[in-house]
């Protein structure tokens, strides 16, 4: 079973580092506090003839035993604050023109609604997303690795949330406004992505010798093939030529939005630059104006 799912974004690693930092600090203080509690309790079990000590915790000599740890906790907090600031700024800081985040960026409109997604790949002549002249519209997200993507996120009705687990990215979609953000998939993380074809776009997963069949007898007699994580193979350097299902990730709605919130999901497909261009050409031919 995976704890943190494979990250493919340029900034996901920083967020993971923040998790490790917080875990180290918090794990340390939790252990100390728990051990102190258990030790003091066991060492102080009532014994005949032994009185408790009258310690009021007044004066520096006594209070230093908690104030010094509190000062050390504060220093840990400061370290967490600093790393938090870097991660927050990198992922959520304002997406400004001509910055590292927007160089050569691909702009995509994301509209969430009850209960699905719509992605617009071309603003059209009016320079606004989701107006009449947006022709390249799909219910799934397809992007090239190695290129910055700036998204313009909105909602058609209620508050939704755009969550891409493998980017470590979440952003609420609020009706009435466009919220901008960015991401970039790193090709090197695509090489180490281990897939079992569980995330599929269409068709069924071919049976694999390593697959374990789990039965869900209560849900419409579904049989599911799941390859244990340890047995999955990384995509490798030729990831771009792997079948589409192997380069497909989950996008879900992560803010309760109504009855079918639990069924609100779509897919992210990652191409390399060349493959994506070919796909976009095909889209323009089929959907857009020539």
């Amino acid at each position: 079973m995976e704890l943190l799912h494979h990250n493919i974004s340029s900034y996901g690693g920083s967020l993971d580092e923040l998790i490790y930092l917080i875990s180290a600090a918090v794990g340390f203080w939790f252990s100390i506090a728990l051990l102190a509690t258990l030790y003091f309790t066991i060492a102080s079990i009532r014994k005949d003839g032994v009185k408790a000590e009258y310690i009021k915790g007044e004066g520096w000599n006594q209070t230093k035993w908690i104030m010094i740890p509190v000062i050390l906790v504060t220093l840990c907090d400061v370290a967490i604050d600093i790393k938090t600031h870097h991660v927050w700024d990198e992922i959520k800081g304002k997406v400004l023109e001509n910055s590292e985040k927007t160089q050569n960026a691909l702009e995509i409109g994301v509209k969430m609604f009850q209960f699905g997604f719509l992605f617009s790949y071309d603003k059209g002549k009016d320079g606004k997303f989701f107006t009449e002249d947006d022709k390249i519209l799909e219910p799934y997200l397809r992007i090239p690795a190695g290129r910055n993507v700036v998204y313009h996120l909105t909602s058609a009705d209620v508050i939704h949330n755009f969550f891409v687990r493998n980017f470590r990215l979440k952003q609420d979609a609020v009706p009435g406004r466009f919220i901008m953000g960015w991401f970039r998939v790193e090709p090197k993380y695509m090489e180490t992505w281990r897939t079992n074809g569980v995330s599929k776009l269409e068709g069924s997963t071919p049976p694999s010798p390593d697959a374990k069949v789990i039965e869900f007898p209560y849900y419409q007699n579904q049989k599911i093939q799941v390859i244990p994580f340890e047995n999955r193979k990384p995509l490798g350097a030729q990831w771009a030529s792997a079948p589409e299902e192997s380069r497909t990730f989950e996008i879900v709605c992560s803010q309760i939005c109504g009855r079918d919130h639990g069924n609100m999901f779509t897919r992210l497909i990652v191409d390399d630059e060349a493959g994506w261009k070919a796909w976009m050409e095909k889209e323009k031919k089929e959907l857009g104006e020539e």
């Binding site: 998790i19 006594q62 740890p69 509190v70 989950e250 109504g258």
Partner: protein
């Protein structure tokens, strides 16, 4: 002492129903809170069964579809926070303890106190009615759909402002191109009314607690001679009363959107959905400290009594409590980091949220230091108090993750949040609540609990609580998002691998719920057949132990005068290891 001039009640109605006696009012809140806990627990059982075995016919319910699932998780959260945690910790024990711990005969405003319970009772009626709210009627007036509101206990608009056939937020009902408002008797309307009534009730109670503590303390009892429980109950009242106003306003605006068709939260009419979030969480965050602070108070008092030691750093704890209460007003937007607020504002709230861990670290370290070189007796209340420390530590430290805006980008609305708040709210409500109930039951009921049952109940709860909620951190960290009715191959394939853990958690929850039956058995056995309690079975110092068990009308035969603080245990040079506040 108060000068009420009221007569001693003689009728059954006057003594036990419409009673102005703080002890009766406290018991009324306690019993209501415990009964509502059964309802809240039932909701949790039903939706956890669906998660573990998707699509089954759940025993004692039936099949749970996604709409009903949303309704159940919403009602579970609301019931547990507003109709279990607050009545048990704040209203019940505030009413029972404050007048007795300060050595007076009743609250400052006994009639207002009685009214506060009955307004609360009315809110409970509305809450239960909302389970059967009318969502849609056909042209002939027949009800085609009914059920509770299901948009999460947080009730964010626009979802909570729109009408839909399921009541839990469907596609919205549109007639002739106009989006319809919900039915007047819809679950959401009844729910908002219930919450508003509850807020009114607690505001009445809050006034009472504060005025009583400030004005009616016994002769010689300075503000720094108050037991920590009283300090924490009063700080909780201050937090509640300063923060609830904005939410009442926000809830009224939501009710107007739902009944009058206004557009406070409708962006198409110049409104802003995020406004509700601010109004909600400005209250919502202090609210969790309203639940936590009394728990800290009870655990501290229990620990001092059974360690036979003064509370370590009384003044430090009081000042840290005041600082934390104040800071609780400037952290609220950590619930909205990724809601679309300005990223610079998010940075500010991340700083304050992580900073609030500092006064709480002082308090928890001081509580642990109280145990050092004590003389500890493992009574049932002491076990629950120690259990609170160990379990709350998990909840407290996992709050650091979520307070960091960077982590929250990933952790928001995930099961990690669920695990975090269950490790803070359940210890406070269940562990500290049980510590308080077991500690003060002899005083207010006049009987002792069965010790063996009490210990068994504690150990089973501790074990099953941890086995239920600790695994949730695991798949929460893996990114499993919340408020989803099932995680199967069709909808969330990457979450299927955690199904065995989901089933384990549900099984442990059933064991946890079953273990609580020991408590109910114990109460019934002890109320009717328990050993009679003496005035001061725990040999404690505070003033409530001076009164009879149970106390009569007016509480004390002679009103006590106070000579020292509440924690003079094991004072050197004295034979006795305790020195009551009222003894010279």
């Amino acid at each position: 002492m108060s000068d009420h001039g009221h007569h001693v009640p003689t009728t059954f109605l006057g003594k036990y129903v419409f009673s102005k006696d703080h002890k009766v009012v406290g018991m009324q809140y306690l019993v209501t809170g415990l009964l509502m806990a059964i309802l809240g627990g039932y909701f949790a059982y039903v939706f956890r069964m669906q998660l573990a075995w998707p699509g089954i016919n759940i025993p004692l319910y039936g099949q749970l579809d996604q709409s009903a699932y949303n309704g159940f998780i919403t009602m579970h959260g609301l019931t547990m926070i507003f109709w279990v945690a607050m009545p048990l910790l704040l209203a019940a024990f505030g009413n029972l303890l404050i007048p007795m711990m300060i050595g007076t005969d009743d609250m400052a405003f006994p009639t207002l106190n009685m009214m506060s319970y009955w307004v609360f009772f009315l809110s409970t009626v509305f809450l239960i009615a909302s389970l059967f709210g009318v969502n849609a009627v056909d042209k002939a007036g027949n009800v085609i759909s009914s059920g509770p509101y299901g948009g999460g206990w947080t009730m964010y608009p626009p979802l909570s402002a729109q009408a839909d056939i399921t009541g839990t937020g469907g596609y919205g009902i549109i007639e002739n191109g106009v989006r319809q408002i919900p039915h007047l008797l819809s679950g959401g309307n009844l729910l908002i009314t219930a919450v508003a009534l509850e807020f009114i009730s607690f505001s009445m109670g809050g006034i009472n607690f504060l005025v009583t503590t400030i004005n009616m303390r016994a002769d010689g009892m300075g503000i720094m001679d108050l037991p920590i429980s009283v300090w924490m109950l009063d700080l909780a009242c201050v937090d509640f009363m300063f923060s609830v106003g904005p939410l009442i306003a926000g809830a009224v605006m939501l009710l107007f959107d739902r009944t009058l068709g206004t557009g406070f939260y409708d962006p198409n009419r110049g409104g802003d959905p995020v406004l509700f979030q601010h109004l909600f969480w400005f209250f919502g965050h202090p609210e969790v400290y309203v639940i936590l602070l009394p728990a800290i108070g009870f655990v501290t008092d229990v620990m001092a009594t059974f360690a036979r030691k003064p509370v370590f750093g009384y003044k430090l704890i009081v000042y840290s409590g005041i600082i934390a209460s104040g800071l609780s007003f400037v952290v609220w937007a950590h619930h909205q980091f990724i809601a679309g607020i300005d990223p610079r504002m998010a940075s500010f709230f991340s700083l304050t949220t992580i900073a609030i861990s500092i006064p709480f670290a002082v308090i928890v370290f001081a509580m642990i230091a109280t145990l050092y070189k004590g003389s500890i007796e493992f009574t049932v209340p002491m076990l629950w108090a120690l259990g609170w420390v160990c379990t709350f530590l998990v909840g407290g430290v996992t709050g650091i993750y979520l307070g960091s805006a960077g982590f929250d980008i990933y952790g928001h609305d995930s099961y990690f949040v669920i695990a975090h708040f269950h490790y803070t709210l359940v210890p406070s409500t269940l562990f500290a609540g049980m510590a308080a109930i077991h500690y003060w039951f002899p005083k207010f009921v006049g009987k002792m609990f069965n010790n063996t049952l009490g210990k068994l109940h504690f150990w089973l709860t501790l074990i099953f609580f941890n086995l239920t909620f600790f695994p949730i951190f695991f798949y929460g960290m893996a990114g499993q998002h919340r408020r989803i009715f099932q995680y199967t191959f069709d909808n969330h394939p990457s979450m299927v691998q955690y199904q065995p853990i989901r089933q384990f958690v549900t099984t442990m929850l059933i064991c946890l719920i079953a273990s609580q039956s020991l408590f109910f058995i114990n109460i019934i056995m002890s109320v009717f057949g328990g050993e009679k309690a003496s005035k001061n079975p725990w040999k404690a110092n505070t003033l409530e132990w001076v009164a009879d068990s149970p106390p009569g009308h007016g509480n004390f035969h002679t009103y006590p005068k106070v000579y020292r603080g509440p924690y003079e245990y094991s004072v050197p040079g004295r034979d006795s290891d305790y020195w009551p506040q009222n003894e010279q």
